[in-house]
């Protein structure tokens, strides 16, 4: 028994060096070669960091495309979903009020055109994307608020659409931050 205890202690120490020092540091060093140097890819405008490419942020003004509802108000230091169950009455009220808000800010829109992702909270609270339909229903509003043609906005949406992986796997989506940045840069 004593032999196993001593072997356990020594083996644990050796493995800590291998697994907790050598392994992670070599990955961190390799990561320096990646976009964002392994610290997350930043989005820079006029020399200032205005966000992270992969992290959604809150957009509420009519001239911007809105992202998905977030249970943590896009707090990138405290990710979480709403964890509301599908039958929870309070949750259903929340969804109804999100539907009402979208209808109010997008006059002429039909309820049946609103996709689920625009009225439900994401898993992380930081979802950077919306669905194509989620963007399509906002085009009229954004064009009007910016006094530019719908066609122009539509083109920007198309340019910022992420296609399925090699055209075959997974959904297509739109990165809201990049789309809004492209709008501001017009």
């Amino acid at each position: 028994m004593k032999k196993y205890i001593i072997q356990s202690i020594r083996l644990t120490l050796v493995l800590i060096v291998l697994l907790c020092i050598i392994y992670p540091i070599s990955i961190a060093l390799a990561g320096k070669l990646s976009k964002g140097n392994g610290s997350g890819e930043k989005v820079i405008k006029n020399g200032k960091t205005i966000g992270y490419a992969l992290l959604g942020q809150s957009f509420t003004k009519p001239e911007y495309f809105w992202g998905r509802p977030s249970a943590v108000n896009y707090n990138a230091a405290g990710s979480a979903g709403s964890n509301k169950g599908p039958s929870n009455p309070d949750y259903l009220k929340d969804v109804q009020s999100r539907i009402d808000t979208i209808l109010k800010y997008n006059p002429g829109l039909k309820k049946s055109e609103i996709p689920a992702d625009m009225v439900t909270a994401s898993g992380s609270g930081l979802d950077p994307n919306i669905s194509e339909q989620g963007a399509a229903i906002q085009i009229v509003r954004v064009a009007k608020a910016r006094k530019i043609s719908e066609q122009k906005v539509k083109e920007l949406v198309a340019m910022n659409t992420i296609k399925p992986l090699i055209g075959l796997f997974g959904p297509s989506s739109i990165n809201v931050l990049k789309l809004n940045l492209a709008l501001d840069n017009l």
Binding site: M1, Y4, Q7, L11, L15, L19, C20, Y23, P24, I27, A28, G31, L33, S34, N37, G40, E41, T49, I50, Y52, L54, L55, G56, Q57, S58, F59, N75, A76, A77, G78, S79, A80, G81, S82, N83, G85, P86, S87, Y91, K111, I114, P115, A116, S122, G123, S124, L126, D127, S131, E132, Q133, A136, V140, E150, L165, L168, F169, G170, P171, N180
Partner: protein
């Protein structure tokens, strides 16, 4: 105005076909993922059989590294161990990790590598967390961003993700050894299996996966929190850190404990559809490879394919209804008149879509990973039912090494029942199965329903009768959802602990002394008894006289016997858990339909 609406409606109707196509790319995505998994897992299994048999393989260039490890640790791998010695070595090193980790968790605020200044853990939270990670469960009652330091993430949590997976694999290899030769008492050296599981499997594959993640956007550096001002002028803090390294082994080792609070739903933890495929493949390959390795190692390939077949049918029976339930969307939202073209979206991420999230939810519950790429608490009632069932069975592929051990117990029960039916002494691979082995198998099988049902009953009692107890979260405030779904939250927490799964209906307010202690104890028992039991049975069987196959032998690699095992699993699970499932997810399902 008028024309613009007409235009939009026109474009909407053409878009309809577009969405139809989008749906299909979601389905092709999961089919491709499953096929890729098999393409990698099957050769990996053959490779593992050779590695553990000591045959020549291309990774033998790592031998010098292993010899250094043995030398520094004072281990002589030539020393043979019987099954009792194997278990002693396994338990000794696991208990050591419990002590080591507990103290780091408590004192992490006073130790270096804490750039975000996170506090030390309370004793009950540290108790829960350390058991959870030693046991390969990774139930997390803290949130990664605010609850642990970088030192803890790497030197305790990630370390344990490697070694707990290697523990499970090594225990399974003891089982391999027991059935390779006709009669055996010496079953190899535990330390050798354990070290090889790391050097030949977990570490090299983790490096590959960590690099893929890093180059797709997951942070890997040691920089602390960042701050920026968003486009609309909000000040936002961003948690970062060495995440890619941990996410790789969290999946490969079927651990599941996330770096960030939202686990693999977090855009930095799982940046794209590609990484999502990689993470799904990573968590499935070793459990499948271990089954193949078993067959090649004991030279009974047909047995391995039979086991694989039963498990895969089980997987499909859980996955297909999960897909239907999620792709159908939430009936309550459908009543509000919105469009759920691709399925239910609450708690899900757009870049994965409901199909990949449903597939992941099945994988992570059949295998004991417990990582999530969408919040299980917000999935449809029947999805919750399939998730719970998957964890209750806990032997469809199953966790690293332990999945096979769990399935072995079901096999022994099936052998016993078949033996009774045909009136012969039951045998398994040429060894008589007698009272002692059956008793052990029965205890292990009964342990799960006992822990799950008693645990849920205690929690429900405290919730209803002691709602005002002065704990960090008062019992009456535990549940994030009312009614039947609230009951499911408690049932899920206990089931996940017993299965060493670690996922949760995360709405549950679980960081308080009650849940920390209850689930800590359940995780501990649910981990070590189901390892000790099968290893003991295998050791006992191996030491018995070998009986050559005859016309009267019950063959365990036939379709009939596969069906028998399947029936045993189904009957045991259904009988034990149906009442609890009826009170939770089933009741909610019928309410929501109303």
């Amino acid at each position: 105005m008028e024309t613009s609406i007409t235009l939009r409606l026109l474009s909407f109707s053409t878009d309809y076909f577009h969405y139809k196509r989008k749906m299909n790319t979601e389905l092709t995505g999961i089919i491709a993922t499953f096929l890729l998994t098999l393409i990698i897992a099957i050769p990996l299994g053959k490779y593992l059989a050779k590695v553990f048999a000591g045959e020549k393989v291309w990774t033998d260039f790592l031998k010098p590294l292993e010899n250094i490890i043995y030398k520094l640790s004072g281990i002589n791998v030539k020393e043979q161990m019987n099954w009792k010695q194997q278990l002693k070595a396994l338990l000794t090193i696991n208990m050591l990790w419990l002590v080591y980790g507990f103290f780091i968790l408590i004192f992490q605020d006073k130790l270096p590598f804490n750039p975000d200044g996170n506090p030390g853990m309370t004793p009950d939270l540290a108790f829960n967390t350390i058991i959870s990670f030693v046991a390969n469960c990774n139930l997390q009652h803290y949130s990664g961003e605010s609850g642990v330091s970088y030192l803890t993430q790497q030197f305790v949590l990630m370390f344990l993700q490697f070694v707990s997976a290697a523990t499970g694999i090594a225990a399974a290899v003891v089982l391999f050894k027991a059935f390779r030769d006709k009669t055996a008492t010496q079953l190899g050296n535990f330390w050798e299996f354990f070290v090889k599981a790391i050097t030949r499997l977990l570490l090299p594959l983790s490096m590959v996966i960590a690099l893929i993640l890093t180059f797709n956007g997951t942070p890997a550096s040691y920089e602390g929190k960042d701050q920026f001002v968003s486009m609309q002028g909000d000040t936002v803090n961003v948690s970062r850190g060495p995440a890619a390294q941990m996410i790789a082994i969290k999946h490969l080792g079927t651990n599941g404990g996330g770096y960030f609070g939202a686990n693999s739903a977090h855009p930095l933890e799982n940046p794209s559809y590609l990484t999502n495929m990689v993470e799904m493949i990573a968590q499935t390959i070793i459990p499948i490879a271990m089954i193949i390795a078993f067959g090649y190692f004991i030279r009974r390939k047909k047995l391995a394919w039979t086991i694989f077949g039963v498990m895969t049918i089980g997987l499909l029976m859980l996955m297909i209804p999960t897909l239907t339930s999620e792709l159908g969307g939430n009936p309550a939202l459908a009543k509000m008149g919105i469009s759920q073209t691709t399925g239910a979206m609450e708690g899900k991420e757009v870049r994965f879509g409901p199909a990949a999230t449903a597939y992941w939810s099945t994988l992570t519950t059949v295998i004991s990973t417990g990582s999530v790429n969408g919040m299980h608490d917000s999935t449809m009632p029947l999805t919750g039912l399939w998730q719970l069932l998957a964890m209750m069975i806990n032997a469809i592929y199953g966790g690293c090494g332990v999945g096979l051990l769990n399935y072995f117990v079901y096999l022994i029960i099936a052998v016993f029942i078949s033996g009774l039916m045909v009136g012969r002494t039951p045998e398994f691979l040429g060894h008589k199965v007698e009272a002692r082995e059956i008793k052990i198998a029965a205890i292990v099988t009964l342990l799960s329903p006992f822990l799950i049902l008693a645990g849920t009953a205690i929690a429900t009692y405290v919730f209803t009768n002691h709602g005002d107890a002065a704990w960090a979260v008062q019992p009456k405030a535990w549940l994030n959802n009312p009614g039947f779904h609230g009951f499911s939250e408690m049932l899920y927490e206990v089931t996940s602990s017993n299965a060493n799964n670690g996922s949760g209906f995360e709405g549950l307010g679980d960081n308080n002394v009650f849940w920390n202690v209850l689930t800590g104890v359940i995780i501990f028992l649910g981990r070590f008894l189901p390892i000790i039991g099968p290893v003991a049975i295998a050791g006992l069987l191996a030491s018995k006289k070998f009986i050559p196959e005859s016309a009267g032998t019950l063959k365990t690699d036939t379709k009939t016997f596969a069906l028998m095992t399947f029936a045993v699993i189904l009957v045991l699970t259904a009988l034990s858990y149906f009442p609890a499932l009826a009170l939770g997810p089933l009741a909610e399902y019928f309410t929501i339909l109303k």
